[in-house]
């Protein structure tokens, strides 16, 4: 199925990565509302906890990191369905799959773009939410560090689910079912790091584990997502 059209000058892997990245960032910039929605969702979910559970300072300090993490996870999940869907609907995804360049590079570029437009804003917003949760300054720094290592994993692993469900009408709900179980380890280590930092315990071990998860996701999931895309497009 990988019918390659022989170009006279085939672009290099790096340039194809940058081209796809630029294209996706431009597309995201043109649809700014889609970009803002997950951020608003993120802030609303976090603010529900003081209103719904307890506004006590001690509770918020205890649960703050977990709340911010869960909200980040849900906000990422919300934006995942659109990762491949619009390209699938207008046919450009098939063109991408048919190019002679390795598919996983282009998938990685799309994931990078997705992280830049959804993950990075969440990291930037997180200190504000940390202050609202009465976390102290050092804990907020650690929270940001874990999100910096963790949100790329959310985008990378989520891309597998998005790729598996791209041709389906029920995509949105199914992604959550497929991907949330795989998110749990990141969530556990992410919040574990912040909790350890809040209790003045060493966090190097946790950070190393987060880094290991990130490295594993970075190397494996573009391949899995590329394979899943080929399967989704094969019928």
């Amino acid at each position: 199925m990988n019918v390659s059209v022989q170009n006279t000058a085939s672009p290099s892997v790096m340039s194809i990565f940058i081209t796809v990245l630029k294209r996706d960032l431009t597309l995201a910039y043109r649809r700014r509302q889609d970009l803002v929605n997950p951020m608003i969702f993120f802030v609303i979910v976090v603010s529900l906890f003081p209103l719904g559970v307890s506004p006590e300072k001690s509770f918020l300090q205890e649960a703050g990191a977990g709340v911010v993490w869960v909200a980040a996870l849900l906000a990422t999940l919300l934006s995942l369905d659109s990762l491949f869907r619009s390209d699938f609907e207008d046919g450009s995804l098939e063109q991408i799959v048919l190019t002679p360049q390795p598919l996983f590079i282009m998938v990685l570029a799309k994931i990078t773009a997705h992280w830049l437009v959804t993950g990075v804003p969440l990291i930037i917003l997180s200190p504000m939410l940390g202050v609202m949760m009465h976390l102290d300054f050092d804990t907020i720094k650690v929270l940001m560090l874990t999100l910096l290592l963790g949100t790329p994993v959310l985008s990378l692993v989520g891309a597998i689910g998005a790729a598996l469900t791209v041709g389906l009408r029920v995509g949105g709900v199914l992604i959550s079912l497929l991907i949330l179980p795989l998110y749990i380890p990141v969530l556990i280590f992410g919040t574990g790091t912040v909790q350890a930092a809040a209790n003045m315990l060493p966090i190097e071990g946790y950070i190393a584990l987060m880094g290991a998860i990130f490295a594993l996701a970075l190397t494996m999931s573009p391949l899995a997502a590329a394979a899943a895309l080929r399967i989704s497009l094969s019928n």
Binding site: T165, L168, L178, P185, A227, I231, S232, S234, N235
Partner: protein, 248 residues
């Protein structure tokens, strides 16, 4: 070995041979399960700490082992299906997912029943328990994906990818009791070491474990055969089989 592997590519051959295996596995599993559970529940000695409540181990441990081993088999079969496009491997994944999910559920349920008298609580957010719960969700995900995709070949490939990705959870379950200091006790059985229990306690457990595996094989064979008939319904041999009204 290789001819066996090649023959596995033919659903008809597998249907015929599994029909011959089926009564054996069914009989052995019935004998082992009855024999093992009577021995385990009536004759095995009481645990010095947990009294009689430990006896649920004879259901809990085999189902927990089966739950994980079924997922690994699904991932391996999924890889075989993806690489060699073997139809039978695809059918196995489809047949195994609900069975594995039920074993996982049984492990969680018996664990909760065991946990109540031993730990004083039905559920704790302990690493072993949580990772088993994730395993259950992974099974549900695979089943949901299979039912969401209409085309059988695409569904099989997609669920194979998901099974392979989900494989990262298996070592987490396996080593959760060693990596984290948790409430759950360490593994009861290992292949390399002599069990810490007296023989009257672990021999029935071993019998139950083998019985569970035979039961699993019986169920999987039945489900796979069913799947074969459904998918191959347009072929001549299935038509002949059905019109003849042939027995199993």
């Amino acid at each position: 070995m290789w001819t066996f592997f090649h023959k596995l590519g033919s659903p008809k051959w597998f249907y015929d041979i599994s029909g011959k295996w089926l009564p054996w596995f069914a009989a052995i599993s019935a004998i082992l399960l009855v024999f093992g559970s009577v021995w385990a529940l009536a004759f095995a000695p009481e645990d010095y700490q947990q009294g009689n409540s430990f006896r649920i181990i004879y259901i809990h441990v085999p189902s927990a082992i089966l739950a994980q081993s079924c997922f690994m088999m699904m991932a391996i079969a999924g890889a075989i299906g993806l690489i060699w496009k073997m139809k039978l491997a695809d059918m196995f994944v489809k047949a195994a997912a609900p069975v594995g999910a039920s074993f996982t559920f049984m492990a969680l349920l018996t664990g909760a029943v065991w946990g109540k008298p031993t730990w004083g609580t039905w559920w704790v957010w302990d690493a072993r328990l949580t990772s088993m719960l994730i395993l259950l969700f992974l099974y549900f995900g695979i089943m949901a994906l299979q039912s969401a995709i209409e085309d059988a070949t695409t569904a099989a490939k997609a669920s194979a990818v998901l099974a392979l990705v989900g494989l990262v959870n298996i070592p987490i379950i396996k080593y959760s009791v060693e990596w984290w200091n948790t409430l759950h006790q360490p593994a009861t059985f290992t292949l390399t070491e002599k069990p810490a229990m007296p023989a009257e306690m672990w021999v029935p457990l071993l019998i139950m474990l083998i019985g569970f595996y035979c039961f699993f094989t019986t169920v999987i064979l039945l489900r796979t055969r069913n799947e074969i008939l459904e998918r191959e319904r347009r072929t001549n041999w299935v038509k002949k089989l059905v019109t003849k009204g042939a027995s199993l």
